[in-house]
C-alpha cells in the first residue's frame, strides 16, 4: 500500500477493490480523492461501499487490490460513540493518549481541555450511561481530537440523535473544522446533513464513487435556504437515479 506523498490530496484511492471471504464485493475498482483541509462527506445507499471506504481509510480494513494513499495518523468518531462504559468521560477521552505512552495525569489534563472545548465542563467524572446521547458523542469527538490526528473520520455520528442535538453537534463540528483546519471525512445517510456540513460530497453507489459534488456555499449552509435546497434536490436526483 502506497503511503501519503506530496500532493494536496490527503487521501487517494486508485482502482481499489475490497471483497470479503463470502465473495461479496464492497468496493469494485473505486477511485476517490479527498483534499487536505476539506470537509468531505461520503453518502449513498446501504451496501454501496461508503462504510468500507471509511474503514480502509481508518486502517480497519485492507483493500483486496488497488492503491490507497492515506495518512497514518487518523482518528475516528463512531456511530455508537464506542465509549468504554466503565470509564468516566475524562478517562475515555484520555485513554488513547495513555495508549500512546503519555503519563496518566498529563493525558487527563489534555483530555479535560478537549472536553471543555466541546462544552462538557463539569461532566468529566460522569460515566457514559450518565450522559445523554449528544454528550456521549461529544466525548467521542473529544477523544478523537485529543490525539491530534492528521484527519478526523466520522462514521454516521449523528444517526441516533434527536434533531435538536444533531443541529447543535453540526454547529460544533463545523466550528472544530474551521478552528483546527483538520481534514474531516464523514459517512452519512442524509443528503441534507451532507449538504449542510461539507465542502465536497462523494456519492457512492454500486461499490464505486458515482459522482462528486462540490458545495460552494458559505457556512452555515442552511442559512442560504434556496441554494441549499437546490443542492439537496440536485444530489437527491443523482442519489435515486
Amino acid at each position: 500500500m502506497r503511503k501519503h506523498t506530496d500532493s494536496n490530496d490527503i487521501i487517494a484511492f486508485e482502482a481499489v477493490s475490497k471483497a470479503y471471504g463470502t465473495g461479496d464485493a464492497a468496493l469494485k475498482d473505486a477511485s476517490l480523492s479527498v483534499e487536505r483541509g476539506s470537509f468531505t462527506c461520503i453518502i449513498g445507499p446501504s451496501g454501496g461501499g461508503k462504510s468500507t471506504a471509511l474503514k480502509i481509510i481508518a486502517g480497519l480494513e485492507e483493500p483486496t487490490s488497488g492503491t490507497v494513499m492515506k495518512p497514518d495518523h487518523v482518528s475516528m468518531v463512531f456511530q455508537s460513540g464506542a465509549l468504554m462504559p466503565w470509564l468516566t468521560a475524562g478517562e475515555n477521552a484520555a485513554l488513547p493518549l495513555e495508549a500512546q505512552g503519555m503519563a496518566a495525569d498529563k493525558a487527563a489534563r489534555e483530555a479535560r481541555k478537549w472536553l471543555r472545548m466541546l462544552g462538557l465542563r463539569g461532566l468529566e467524572g460522569k460515566l457514559p450511561r450518565e450522559l445523554s446521547g449528544g454528550e456521549r458523542q461529544r466525548v467521542g469527538i473529544a477523544r478523537a481530537l485529543a490525539v491530534n490526528p492528521a484527519m478526523l473520520l466520522l462514521d454516521e455520528p449523528f444517526a441516533a440523535l434527536d434533531p435538536k442535538t444533531t443541529d447543535d453537534l453540526h454547529r460544533d463540528i463545523v466550528d472544530i473544522w474551521k478552528e483546527t483546519g483538520k481534514t474531516i471525512v464523514m459517512v452519512s445517510h442524509s443528503i441534507e446533513e451532507a449538504v449542510a456540513l461539507s465542502t465536497r460530497i462523494l456519492l457512492m453507489k454500486d461499490h464505486v464513487v458515482r459522482k462528486t459534488f462540490d458545495i460552494d456555499l458559505p457556512h452555515p449552509h442552511r442559512a442560504h435556504a434556496v441554494a441549499f435546497s437546490r443542492e439537496v434536490a440536485h444530489i437527491r436526483k443523482e442519489f435515486f437515479k
Partner: protein
C-alpha cells in the same frame, strides 16, 4: 450512582431466598429420616476446618480454571477460523462427563502420592468450561465498534488486554465464576470421597473436607454431624453469595455495555 440491573441479576437475587427456604425445609425433612443416634456430634471447629479445607480445594481449582479459561476463550474468539476450530472441540470436551474419568485421575495422582491433586483436578475440569463459555459469550457481546476504536487508537498488546478486553468481559467473567463455583460445590462431595474409587478403599482414603464429612456421617450413624455439616455448607454458600457474588454482580454492572 444509579446502576442498571440485568434481568439475570434480578432473577438471581429473587431466587436466593427461595433457594434457602427450600434448603431449610429439606434439612428438616432429612433430619426426620435419621433415627436417634448416640454417635457424638462433631464440634463446630471440626465442621469449620472441613469447610475451610474444601474451600481451599475449590479455590485452588478455581484459580487454575481462570488461568486456563482466559487464554482459551481469547484463542477461540480470534477470528472466524479459530471459532470454527475451537468451539466444536470445546463443545465436545465440556460434554464429556469428567467424573467418569475420576478413577483414572485418582490412579494417576496416587502414583505421585498427591491425592489432593486428583480432587482439585476434577473440580478444575468441572469449573473450567463454565468460565470458558461465559467468557466466549462475553467477548462476543462486546460491540464491534469497541474493538474498532481500540485499533484506530492504537490500543494493542498488554494495554488492550488490561484496559479494554479484561474490563469488557468482567460481567461475563463474574457470571461464569458464579456458575463455576456452583458446579464446584456440586462436585466436591464426590471429589473428596475417594475410597469408593480405590480398590479396597476405606473412609481413611478420603480427603478431609465438608464433602467427605457429609458422605461419611450418615454411614457412621451421626445424623447430627450430617445436619451440622449441611448447615455449615449452606451457611458458607449463603455468606459467599451475599458477601462476594451479589457484590461482584452489582459491581460488574458498571462494566456492561448498554
Amino acid at each position: 450512582m444509579h446502576r442498571h440491573h440485568g434481568p439475570a441479576l434480578r432473577a438471581h437475587a429473587a431466587f436466593t431466598p427461595f433457594f434457602l427456604l427450600v434448603v431449610a425445609f429439606g434439612i428438616f425433612g432429612i433430619a426426620s429420616l435419621f433415627p436417634f443416634s448416640p454417635a457424638p456430634v462433631a464440634p463446630p471447629s471440626y465442621i469449620a476446618a472441613a469447610l475451610a479445607a474444601t474451600f481451599m480445594r475449590l479455590m485452588a481449582a478455581y484459580i487454575a480454571a481462570v488461568i486456563c479459561a482466559v487464554p482459551l476463550a481469547i484463542l477461540a474468539t480470534r477470528g472466524a477460523l479459530m471459532e470454527k476450530i475451537f468451539l466444536p472441540v470445546f463443545d465436545i470436551l465440556q460434554s464429556v462427563p469428567t467424573l467418569a474419568f475420576f478413577p483414572l485421575v485418582i490412579a494417576i495422582f496416587l502414583q505421585y502420592g498427591f491425592v489432593n491433586g486428583a480432587a482439585v483436578f476434577i473440580l478444575f475440569l468441572n469449573m473450567l468450561w463454565n468460565i470458558v463459555f461465559s467468557l466466549i459469550a462475553g467477548i462476543g457481546a462486546v460491540p464491534h465498534e469497541i474493538f474498532s476504536a481500540a485499533r484506530v487508537f492504537n490500543m494493542r498488546g498488554a494495554f488492550f488486554f488490561k484496559r479494554v478486553l479484561l474490563p469488557a468481559i468482567l460481567p461475563a467473567f463474574v457470571t461464569g465464576s458464579l456458575f463455576a463455583w456452583a458446579e464446584g460445590w456440586n462436585v466436591v462431595i464426590i471429589a473428596e470421597v475417594l475410597h469408593t474409587y480405590i480398590p479396597g478403599g476405606t473412609s481413611a482414603n478420603d480427603l478431609f473436607g465438608i464433602g467427605s464429612v457429609l458422605a461419611n456421617a450418615p454411614a457412621s450413624g451421626s445424623g447430627a454431624t450430617f445436619i451440622a455439616a449441611i448447615l455449615g455448607l449452606v451457611g458458607l454458600i449463603a455468606v459467599l453469595n451475599f458477601v462476594v457474588w451479589q457484590r461482584l454482580l452489582h459491581y460488574a454492572e458498571t462494566y456492561r455495555f448498554e
